[in-house]
Amino acid sequence: MNYADKFKKTFFTENPVTGMLLGMCPTLAVTSSAENGIGMGLATTFVLMGSNLVISLLRNIIPARVRIPAFIVVIATFVTIVDMGLQATLFELHKTLGLFIPLIVVNCIILGRAEAFASKNSVLQSFIDGLFNGLGFTFSLFILGTIREILGSGAILGMTFIPENFRTVLLFVLAPGAFITLGFMLVGMNRISKALGGK
């Protein structure tokens, strides 16, 4: 496998968020700060690697007729592990992400990779595919979260850099801000993707 090419694809031209517009629910909902974005991204990456690995292992056993339910059970198992693991280790982060962790189950990226890649490729390749796509997802969420945090809360990774009484653009931590920022981000990422020779 060509890693440089894979990197270019998953981070830019076929990035889960900006290239394929998958997983919009967590993308828009949790990116009110950069830290939340990274947390959600890494949780998804873990699930993606785990589910890709197991589904690739079982690709010759799972009957085609019931592959979707089988995939969902595998994915849901990993999500539950993440949910309980986060609660046991990073309690504070779990408090902010709480509601969205169970929703990783229905994140299209994961089912998408299972269907399009893991069910047709070798175990190692699927595992790496999961890692790259997960990191690509994290990358987009981090950028989105950082922009919204700077404009909306006047902080970078929780560190405030503006004076106490300075009013920030609150809109950006709210839902409309997520859509606006994502829109501009798509424009930028499409430019970069074109420059890189994708689509």
């Binding site: 539950t80 046991a88 931590v173």
Partner: protein, 193 residues
């Protein structure tokens, strides 16, 4: 993947996958149960320290005592001095009807019923707006207030509490939560008489 598998194989594979998932999850649940419970307890203990700040040489039970107030479940920790006298209460109540849903908060009261401090345990209010209830300017106005010296409503509803800008609903729920905690105090005091 084959073309058309027999029904038996389909069922068998699904059952096996589900079974392995269940076993794995049972194991993970067992491993994480204690750390999770410990984390929750640590959070509560941290909250008690905050809301009863300033009271010296006190001890309080490990688990809250349950109580019903305003048709809603609440709990309290009674803090005592070494000589057995009541130093104050840390009351856990629900702030009813927040912007997303009810949230859990803790209110610390000294033995005369004055509010020492407040702490939000678990909430899903809007970041940047509703979560201002955890910040200084809003929290500060509650300190030192009592049940009878305050109209427990936000200013918009002709009360005494300054609501957070653009988060009146959260402020209302928070104020109601504090009021509930004061009701718990009142009930406890009446029981003692």
């Amino acid at each position: 993947m084959g073309k058309q598998e027999s029904g038996l194989k389909v069922i068998l594979v699904l059952v096996l996958i589900a079974m392995f998932s269940a076993i794995l999850l049972a194991y993970v649940n067992q491993v994480t149960r204690e750390p999770i419970a410990a984390n929750k307890k640590a959070e509560t203990q941290k909250a008690i320290k905050v809301v009863l700040a300033g009271l010296k040489d006190i001890s309080y039970p490990e688990n809250p005592t349950d109580i019903q107030i305003d048709n809603s479940g609440a709990g309290y920790f009674e803090a005592k001095y070494d000589n057995g006298k009541t130093a104050g209460y840390a009351v856990i109540v629900k702030g009813p009807g927040g912007f997303t849903n009810d949230f859990d908060m803790m209110v610390g009261l000294d033995s005369s019923g004055k509010i020492i401090d407040t702490y939000v345990l678990d909430h899903k209010e809007t970041p940047g707006l509703g979560d201002g209830m955890q910040k200084e300017p809003f929290k500060n106005q509650f300190r030192g207030r009592q049940l009878n010296d305050t109209e427990w409503k936000v200013k918009k509803d002709k009360g005494d509490i300054d609501a957070i800008t653009a988060a009146t609903i959260t402020s209302r729920a928070f104020t109601k939560g504090v009021w509930r905690a004061l009701q718990v105090y009142k009930t406890l005091r009446e029981d003692q008489k």
